[in-house]
Each structure stands twice: as structure tokens, then as C-alpha cells.
Symmetry: C2
Subunit: 269 residues, 2 copies
Amino acid sequence: MKPEKLYHQISKKASFLCVGLDTELSRIPSHLQKAKDPIFEFNRQIIEATHSYAVAYKPNLAFYEKLGPKGWDSLAKTLEVIPEDIFVIADAKRGDIGNTSRLYAKTFFETFHFDAVTIAPYMGKDSVSPFLEFEDKWVFLLALTSNPGSQDFQYHTDSGVPLYQSVLEKAQIWEKEYPGHLGFVVGATRAESLQEIRNIAPQSFLLVPGVGAQGGDLHSVCQYGKTELGGLLINSSRGIIYAGGDSEDFADKAGQAAKQLQEAMSAYF
Amino acid sequence: MKPEKLYHQISKKASFLCVGLDTELSRIPSHLQKAKDPIFEFNRQIIEATHSYAVAYKPNLAFYEKLGPKGWDSLAKTLEVIPEDIFVIADAKRGDIGNTSRLYAKTFFETFHFDAVTIAPYMGKDSVSPFLEFEDKWVFLLALTSNPGSQDFQYHTDSGVPLYQSVLEKAQIWEKEYPGHLGFVVGATRAESLQEIRNIAPQSFLLVPGVGAQGGDLHSVCQYGKTELGGLLINSSRGIIYAGGDSEDFADKAGQAAKQLQEAMSAYF
């Protein structure tokens, strides 16, 4: 997807909302368990109920891989029912030597038609650039994550520059070759760092998970993260898709949760 | 697999050889292209021809994922024909927040029965430990990789300690909770660093890709990498599995290439 198209969606819907499709069989309402493909049926209804408020969907691949070949089928069918103008991110956190990264890129961008993929930066530029060589495809590079383990290496500091800032800085250089197609994953629980991150990457798209279940604060994320054109995707997974618990109207409840987040976001437009 | 069992294999076969099953449809000999499942048929014959010389197999997941659900089927069938006493590594380079890593671990260890998985360390301890909580299962953590991009972040140096050494050091502490089940990926093109690495991680298993196609030197890897009990897995992928090119006797050729490497390794026993 071209950046202008994503900016347009964000502005039209007054929303940064990305819905994380982290769908687990054990958390799907009982009345759906007997459907032919419960994961797909759940996703389909969630998408139908939330797509007016969301600008992006983000399936985390772990949830589909766990089910073996059947999981990949459910994923493929899910992607087919996401409206064409909505951005779709494969949360895969891949990253391998160049020729292998190229295969992953083909999987996500050609076999599955995702718009973007999340990548771990540890192996450096040649593990990232194969993904960027696809036209109108995007990478979100892990920068500062929201989990406790982010303390282990992301603050490893060389001449005053913590690793996550070095990732941002180097990737800003790589991004010059592929303008507008390299963004960063920044956990919402690190909202206090968002200002610094915006200094280093003033225009980059930031994908911010952790609002809701992981305790991130929507207000500071919007305040410090947004750019003039938008530049922000805020992910909520469990807080939306499981808002209805085991009830038959789970999709309505998910729609309401999405609407509520979008309305809170609309204050920043 | 218990460490003793792997040490036993290594010593019995006088071999550190890990065969990388990075199987691409386009590189499979023409006479196999019409098989019902060419990838599986190729792997089956490669395994039959090489298993006397190898102590481990390592499919890189990218090659199977690229084929969609069918690829996962080929992978599952391949794992079934690997002899039970040989170690099997999922080269997956995953790593995500704790509950998601747990799902990946279930996929590789329960759905697919791998013995080990490769993990990127960027997200820290809680992205790694869910894999280690499975009994007799292993993690190989990326430390110093063999690709050009390894220069970008792995040498990011805090108080004299480059990031890859910090990964080794911290993981040595984590390993105390799971003795013998945490190893490291160290590219063979970095053989000069192997001595340093052995100082930090004197007993850990090292998984060393890059001998052969990537230009690594078998001699220095064995010399500096091996421990008293073994402690080394040296991977060769293309150099073995494609040794026969398009010929009908590709499996014999692969067997010869594996034998040749094993014989060179046997000098270090």
C-alpha cells in the first residue's frame, strides 16, 4: 500500500486503530466452536464489526502457525475478508540472512498479500532490505518493545546511544532508499520514550502495541507519537477481540470496544 | 533430547555435522519434480544418504513457509523420516513477548517435535525462556552471525562489551536455570572470534552455519569451537544437499559430500 493511501484512511476515519487478530481457539465463544473453521468465522465477524473504526489489522503469526497447515488456511481466508483499503501487517518478527529473508518476504507479500511485516533488527541491514525491495510493501522494525526483556539488550549503550536508538538511527539511513516504507515497533508502555524516538525518526510510522492489556496509556501515545499526517498505528488485540468474552454478541462487543478507542483517538485530529 | 544423548552421537560418529535442509523446489532435480511431494521426496533421499555422517538436521522454516500449508505438510513428513537418535533444529529465528513465544514453542516442540529452535535475542529473557521451559528442548540464541549486516548492531559496544558478547554473558546466567539447553549461533566466517566466545561460554553448544557456501573455514571452527565433550554443531546446507546438481544420483553425491565433511571433522576426535 502506498503511504498516501494509509494516511488518507487515518485521516478519513480519525483513527490510528490497528486491531490485533491474535485469535486463540480456546478463547473463541462456545457457539462458534462447531463452525467449520472457528478461527476464520471468529475473525470474519470481528472484522465485520470493527472495520469502520480500524485502519489496520495485525494477525500475529504465532497464533496461526500453532495450528499447523490448518492455521495457515484460516489466516489466508481471514486476509480475503479484510476490506481492500485497510492495511494488513504480518506480526512475524522474522529476520534472517539475505536469501532467506527474501523467501520470508515472498511468503508474506506474494503468497499472503500482506502490506507489511514486523522484523527483528539483530542481523542488520541485509536481513531487512529484502523485505523493502517489494514495491509498496512495508517493514516495521522492532525498536523498543513493551516486555520486561526489553531491558536486557535494547538499552545496551554505545557512546551514549542505547541500542534501540541505534536501530532507529541506522534504519533512518536505510529508509532513504525506500522512502515511507520503514516504520518502527515501539511499545506503549514506553510512552515516555516516544518524544525521544520522534526526535530521531520524526516522520516514520510507529506501530505501538500494548495499549490496553499491556497497560499502555493511549493519551501519551497519541500526544507524543502522532505526526502532522498521522504516522501512528496503535494496536489493541485482546482488549477488542475478546471484549465480549464467551457471549453470542462477541462481535458487537468488539465493535463497541473498537469504537470507543477510535473516539478517544479522534480527539487528536 | 538430553545433552548426553547428543554428546554420545557426536562421539560415536566422530562428527559435528548438521545438514541444513534448505530445500527449494526450483533446485530439486528434474526427475523428482513430478513426485507427489517433491520437497519431501528430495529430503527423504537426502536424509537416507547422509544420516550416517550427520548428528543433526536443520530445516530453515522460511523454505517451507514459502509454500503455504503444503510446505508445512512436507516439513512434517520430513521430520518423520529423520532417525529418532538424530537432533533436529527448527531454524526459525523467532522471538516475541512471553505468551506469544510460548505459542511458537508449542508449535515447534509439540506440533512438530523439534529438539531445538533458533531464537533472535533482541526482546530479551522473557522472549527466550518460554522455549526453555519444555523438558529436553533446546534454544540456539543468535550471537554473532555470518552475514554482512552482523556489523550493524552485534558490535554495538557498551563499556567495552559488544552486544553479541553481552548476549552470551546474559544467556550464560539464564542457562543456569536450564543447564545444557541453551546454545548459540556463531557464524563460521567469524572463526577468529570463536576463541573469545569460548572464553565466555566454555561449555555451551555452538551451532555454526556458514562452512562451505558462506566461506567459513572448517579447520579453525573445529580447533577453536569444540569442547572436551563435543559442544559443536557445524551446519552445511547447499554444499551438501545440492552437491549433485540436477543429476539422478543427487542423493549419492550429497552422501559423499557429507562423508567428506565428517571425515575432515573426525581428525578432531
